[in-house]
Structures are given as structure tokens and as C-alpha cells.
Subunit: 339 residues, 2 copies
């Protein structure tokens, strides 16, 4: 009888007879993310992370997220490792928006399916660990759950929680944020982790193996992992660009997410001519005959993150981040303006 | 079109047209869990929790968990509020095992389904918030995800992450733990959150409305929420009982979990005559003709938590916790012994 209980990584291979190789693969990948702060990880009832170098006004910033139904496409295409990158990067981007110099501390994951395939779990966790390692974040714990009757055959879900450290006197939006600040757009790598229920409908009559002109191989393009913006923000800091606020453009698009980064009484004017919407979004729009307004509500349309910066820092920012562009500016009022 | 994106609490009602009443209900319940440490909660990209009173050797203890396929029974019986208690209590118990005086700080949740029912989400989150409030833990954030094609019709999953504070020089097991220490058993309230895939098979030909002699109404008994042991542990501390280690008896039962609480070279002798296995477990065993060894591997068999304490503290402990009992003692060796 298979173990009916959510099992730890170290059990996952055993309970479902995966063999020691899979377990070792996961363990090594996870342990590579463990610095000296990790006092207990795999096998403990709870992961233990020592707090030090806390600075003067320490606060924890935490976020739980999934990757939406991108998991369903990932399962269909066997892209387990890359969906691990998606989840970590999504979570990292979310906590970056809390304030200046957010430092990711640790991450915990949950992988569930009706029937766990050890190789898929191993690939997923390896991807999570790689993405954690890239941002100096410990993969502190996780749970795998076999849930017959809950998940569709072959389907799985993947949930992550990230905890980071921030100086709470440097929370976004800064009080120095004002009308006239400019909006620096950082490109997305694709739809990231939003709009996938719609994407799946739109492409259901197209082969994911198809090479779409100007778009690329559909299955590859739609599963491109969520880009992580931590390195970009560190480049801005190195270039002495003081970020006043950050908006992670997730579900709800620019319309819903940009206002979350701005104080009451201030809004933004977006220059829609400042960038070319990537071909995949245009292809998706045509597939469903969706109006542009709806597209901007569901998808990031090529904009993954917006940094609000002082106007006089714009040149330095554009040099520091060569793929960024000026997408608009902060204006008085409560209504998002489009030009 | 419904929002294809995992949405925040504040959006959940809106995107799926739940009406303001449901949203308000959730908000109030969540906000009741927020003390002065919570700097940003609902609506933020990430929840923000100020760290203070950290003590000399602060560490964070964190755990992610689900409630197994108890969610499927809960959905079948409409017990959304009580499954919220299950999840929080399970997570709290897990981090209690990290060391002495663990203080739960905050909790984040993830609720996903093929089609979100606002009333079910509201009830679930209300249950989570009630259980968080009971242990002084902030419900700092959460995510609701509508995942068509991933979940079975009517099914949902519920995942939680808890973060607590602990002095890492007071980690369990204490170095003072030694052979001759005694094992104090704290009763479970039922199967807690383990063994439910098996339970569901065992009861599939029995009406959950049936009143089983000596057991009670089956649907009620199997969905009894996971008991939280924080208050019990505080009572032990008040009675000056120094706990040397703690084992939360989850999946794998006593067999797998007790050794996790003991250092290498020490094991335990369990006195199986020290307690009467609750009637529900006997009923389940008979339903499936399962051998006793297997029962002890899958279920807690009435033992929810085991505290390892000095032998001379036994009397005080039994007085402080009137429903606890002496279940065995720590012995030399690596093999669990049963008498």
C-alpha cells in the first residue's frame, strides 16, 4: 500500500519506490541552497533558519503563490524543472515589491498530485532548488502529497512560500515618490505565470509542437519561465538609482498591479507606443479575437516589472538595464491614463 | 470571463461575483489575527511582519503542509470551516517540535479548486483565521487559485505555511535527553490529518450519516479537527516541566515520528497497554481487515503528540495535563521496542 500521507522529500522516493538515485539528486540540489543559517532542513518537523545581520528595523516579508494552470501545460510537456523556476521567480518578484534591498531568506514548497511520479517530483524540486540557489535563498522545506480523488489524472499542483528580510522603514512606496517620477519597464520573458487558463483555451486547437512564424515553437514560448528581477534591481542599486516603488505585473496586468505600487492620490500615464507587444501576445489575441483592453487585464503584455524612479535617474537606469525602457510617468489623480 | 489568475482575498469575491458580504466576512476574520507586528497584509504583494522581542539566539522555524485527502471528505460534507482549523493546528504542532517556547508568528494559506465557490473559500479562511487567532498567530497572506483542468470537479486543496520564532540554543532534542526519560502521550482528537486516503476507501460503503455504536456519527468523528497542543505545552511550562523533545505523530505514526524526536543511539520502549486505542481506529481496522502493525504505521492510534520529559517530572506533568498518560520511556539503542 502506498503511504497515504504527505511525505517529506526523503520519503518521497521510498514510499513510491523511486530508488535512491532520485532521492540523492533532490537532496544534493536542496543542500546546495543551504548556507550556515540553515540549522535544520530535510527530515525535520520544521525547517530552522538562524536570524543574523538583521539591521536596525527588521521585518519579514512573506508570500505564498502557485503558478496557476501553467502547471497543466508543464505537465503536458514534461517541463517539471522549468516550472520550479517559474514558482520561485514569481515569489521572489512578489517580495521584492515590499521595499528596498529585500533579501530572500528561505522558500518552502508543496507538490501534490493524484499519483506522485518520483522523477517528476525530483525534476520539479531540482528546478526549485536551482532557482533558489540563483538568488541566495535556502530551500528550507517542502511537502509532497499524494491526493487520489482530488487531482485530475496526470495533473499536479505546485505551491511555494517565500520569506525575505526587509528594513520596514524602507518600505515601498517611498514617501519621496511624487508626480513626475518616471516608470521604468523591465521586459517579461513571456506570460510568466498568468493567464494560463485562457492560454490553454486559445491554443487547444493548435499543436504545441507547431513553429509559429515570428513567435517560435509554441510549446517552448508559452512555457518560458517567469523572469526573476532580483539581479536587475541590484544593478539599479549599483548604478545609484533609488527605486521609489516596484510593481510586479501579474494577474490583472498593468491595470490592476501598477496602482498597488502607488500611494493614494497618484496614478500613472502609460505610453503604449513605448514598446512593441511581443508576438506571442498578438498571436494569442488573434486566436481568440480578444479585445486589447481584455488582453491588458489578463496578460503582462511584455512588461514584467515596473520600477518607479526619480526622473533624473532615468538615464542611469536605462544604461544599467539595457533592455529596460521608459514606459510612462507618475501623475496626480486616481485613474490610470493611456497615451 | 472569470479571472484566470490566482487572486488575493480581496479579489476573490469580486472576480467570482461573491458579493461584498463574503469579502467583508473574510477581511474581518483575517484582521482579527493582526497585531501591531503586521505592517501589511491583505492586498500587498507580500505580507509584512515586524520582528521584535527576538531574544538572544533567534531562529525562524517554518513548515509547509496540507491536510491530505481529508480535504475530499471535508468537501463532501461541507466542512470548510473545520478543515481550516485542521490545517493551522497541524502546522502549529509541527513547529512546536523545533524547540522550547516556539512562538508562532504568522501563517499563509493557499486554497485552490477547479471552480472556486466564494462561500466555501470564505468558510475555509474563517476557520484558518479562528485557529490562527487562538494561538496568537497572524494570518498574513493567502492565495486563492481557480485551476480548471487540474482539480477534480468539487475537489479543492488547502496548503498552509507557518513561520515561528525559536531560540536556536534551545532546539530539540535537548542534550540533557537521556535513557530513563519518560514519554508523555497527549491524546489525539481523531486521525487528525493522516491516513485519509485509506479512511476514504474503508468507509466508501458506509454512510457517513451512520451512527456507529461506540464510535459516534461517522461523518463527524472522521472530520474532528486536528488538535493543537500549544496550550498543553504552555501548561507543562507553567508546571515547571522541562520538555526535552517533542514528536508530532503524523503520517507514519509512532513508528516513523517518535525516532525523529530522539538523538542517534537512543530509542523508546512503548507500553501498548498504557492506553485504549479509540473506537474509531478499531472500527476502521475491522472495516479493512488491516493488521495492527499497519494500523500503527498509518494512524496515530489515539496519540497526537509525545513529550519526552525527565522521569522526576512525570507526576507534575500528569497533574498539569489531566488527559495525558505515561506511554513509555527512552532506552539505549536504535530500535523502537513495544511491550
Amino acid at each position: 500500500m502506498s503511504n497515504p500521507k504527505p511525505s517529506r522529500y526523503e520519503d518521497a522516493g521510498v514510499s513510491i519506490d523511486a530508488g535512491q538515485q532520485t532521492v540523492d539528486l533532490i537532496k544534493k540540489a536542496v543542500q546546495r541552497t543551504h548556507g550556515p543559517n540553515v540549522l535544520a532542513g530535510v527530515g525535520a518537523f520544521g525547517g530552522l533558519f538562524a536570524l543574523d545581520d538583521l539591521g536596525p528595523h527588521p521585518a519579514l516579508v512573506a508570500s505564498t503563490d502557485g503558478v496557476g494552470t501553467k502547471v497543466a501545460l508543464a505537465a503536458q510537456r514534461g517541463r517539471y524543472r522549468s516550472i520550479g523556476h517559474d514558482l520561485v521567480n514569481h515569489c521572489v518578484n512578489d517580495i521584492l515589491c515590499a521595499g528596498a534591498d529585500v533579501k530572500p531568506l528561505f522558500f518552502l514548497d508543496y507538490v501534490a498530485s493524484g499519483r506522485l511520479e518520483p522523477a517528476h517530483v525530483a525534476a520539479t524540486v531540482t528546478g526549485l532548488a536551482e532557482a533558489c540557489e540563483a538568488v541566495g535563498c535556502a530551500l528550507l522545506g517542502g511537502e509532497t502529497a499524494e491526493m487520489p480523488g482530488v487531482y485530475q489524472p496526470g495533473a499536479f499542483d505546485l505551491v511555494g512560500t517565500i520569506v525575505g528580510l526587509v528594513d520596514h522603514t524602507r518600505r515601498y512606496p517611498f514617501t519621496s515618490l511624487s508626480a513626475g517620477d518616471v516608470l521604468l519597464a523591465l521586459p517579461s520573458s513571456g506570460p510568466h505565470t498568468n493567464g494560463y487558463s485562457l492560454i490553454r483555451k486559445l491554443v487547444e486547437n493548435v499543436s504545441l509542437d507547431e513553429e509559429i512564424e515570428g513567435v517560435g515553437k509554441l510549446g517552448e514560448v508559452v512555457l518560458e519561465p517567469h523572469r526573476c528581477y532580483l539581479a536587475d534591481l541590484r544593478k539599479l542599486a549599483t548604478a545609484d538609482v533609488l527605486v521609489h516603488s516596484l510593481a510586479h505585473i501579474t494577474g490583472g496586468g498593468l491595470v490592476d498591479n501598477l496602482p498597488r505600487a502607488l500611494p493614494d492620490g497618484l496614478s500613472a500615464r502609460i505610453d503604449t507606443s513605448s514598446w512593441t507587444v511581443p508576438p506571442l501576445f498578438r498571436f494569442l489575441q488573434q486566436q481568440g479575437d480578444i479585445d486589447t483592453e481584455e488582453m491588458f487585464r489578463v496578460f503582462n503584455m511584455g512588461v514584467g516589472m515596473i520600477a518607479v524612479i526619480p526622473a533624473d535617474a532615468c538615464d542611469a537606469a536605462l544604461v544599467a538595464l539595457s533592455d529596460s525602457w521608459l514606459i510612462g510617468e507618475v501623475v496626480e489623480g486616481d485613474t490610470l491614463q493611456w497615451t
